[in-house]
Homo-oligomer: 327 residues x 2
Amino acid sequence: MDERKYTVGIDIGGTNTVIGMVADTGSIVDCVKIPTVGHASPETFVGCIAAEIEKLVNRLPAQSIVAGIGVGVPCANAETGLVEGAANLPWPNFPLVRLMEDAAGMPTFITNDANAAAIGEMTYGVAQGLDNFIMLTLGTGVGAGIVVDGHLLSGSRGYAGELGHMVFPFAADRMCACGRRGCLQTVSSAGGVVETARRLLDSEAIPSSLRDIDRDALSARDIGRAAEKNDALALEVFRFTGDAIGTACASFAAFSDPDAIILFGGVAGAARFMVDAMREALEREALYVYKGRIRILTSSLPEADAALLGAASLPLHYEKKNVKKDE
Amino acid sequence: MDERKYTVGIDIGGTNTVIGMVADTGSIVDCVKIPTVGHASPETFVGCIAAEIEKLVNRLPAQSIVAGIGVGVPCANAETGLVEGAANLPWPNFPLVRLMEDAAGMPTFITNDANAAAIGEMTYGVAQGLDNFIMLTLGTGVGAGIVVDGHLLSGSRGYAGELGHMVFPFAADRMCACGRRGCLQTVSSAGGVVETARRLLDSEAIPSSLRDIDRDALSARDIGRAAEKNDALALEVFRFTGDAIGTACASFAAFSDPDAIILFGGVAGAARFMVDAMREALEREALYVYKGRIRILTSSLPEADAALLGAASLPLHYEKKNVKKDE
């Protein structure tokens, strides 16, 4: 029997963490989800992940090799291995690579969740063959993986693409987890969509099935389900969200001249309710050289897969560079 | 006597065009300036440039080789050789590479003026050794050369870095040459600085030597000279401009995580009057991960030299790639 090579891909989100065993062919052979919240410390959280990895490893056939762990996590510093200032995680700062290598005994590599998703989408999804695109991750937080001239932007300390924290007038009355006002994230994250719905429920007389849901328990998923049933208020929530995202993308275009914007993450599940307003705003607000040139796409990979596959590709990607680690 | 290799560098701005003969050692050995405006057509404009190039070539010593022409020009499409939609030039669209090759008989390469300046600054100026910076060109128009991870961003059609056309609330009441409202350029260009001064002259009772200058003839240079003499209104103009640029740079940081912002172009000559307000705004408005990390630099090269040297380096840069042209 031949040896078979695997890597572990991990996608740490603000709510859930997905851990997958990925074959070097790019197929996810096994996968488990644990909550990100509710752990006493980063150490216990990483300990839980390591325990899940052990179970995944034990389920592999004999002769399997696990080459390493790749993690997509908000505010990852790929150089230092630290998570630094992650406003959407229970612990904004912790030494993820060191904790993971101690707990799991495998070489570990991190990048931010949006970059991981962009790498996954380039390798397996709708971004195959695209040299210029922005992948907007719309989830608990909002980030971006930006590819320009075929290269995924990293920046001086790996913080390129924090587009969820670009400030726009349409969000001027919203406070962000980062401590500032007006961030795109306050409108286009799952929480932002809920906040928009609450405001509309308060201020508009539109009838809506959302009025039957406890205000504090209302989720972006509830609003998506209502939109699927043509609920007028829910549709207006996504129209507003799409308009905001399209306006933001008109600004982003001036930076990197992309061929496409790719929507990814939980909120992107409602893309079909947002895309018309998004396209209209993008065409309305963009500088003339970009008008009519930028496609709006949605991730073709199942929700967690792009981030997981992108993360899982990190150990393979770094294998050749990784001289220091093997010393 | 040895052969000596030269290239022609051209910097086409909204007001003037600078044409220089540059040795392959990077020194500008000869240089001439002609107005960009006042020509009957793109053909006659390019014809004037070609005539100046001929004079420069004739002044070279014997045994000199001129390898080609590089041009920095707004809205250059490096792929097609066209200028497309240049709002700050007398002709927004013209086939610059074809006209120049026809008129001057030398292989010609173009990039936008801001990219040319960034290449020049990387090769000879304060950006030597910097892998992550944004070079903001503040002149008749406002553009940017963006370098991320050591790579100068081009984008899907060469239009990356049109940061002068990012829209901000501080300029919401200003109309841009591009037809939209609120572009950074309406505040931070030479014309934007003049407009700010006019507004302050109208609305504020601050005494100012600028009140002695004919309102329609007022130039950014006048305002710079007044600031040098501590004119309170002129200083307030540059404080406002610096605050606006700093606010804009806080947004730009979220895109590319730069180590430095480099100010370049005519308005950057007044950088010392803007830099305190710019730094304060950048630190105030930036996401926490960028705070205290971004240096503000001014170009170390004489005003036109960076753009000229960057342009002149294009034929050398493309020499190896340039198979089609030689066929």
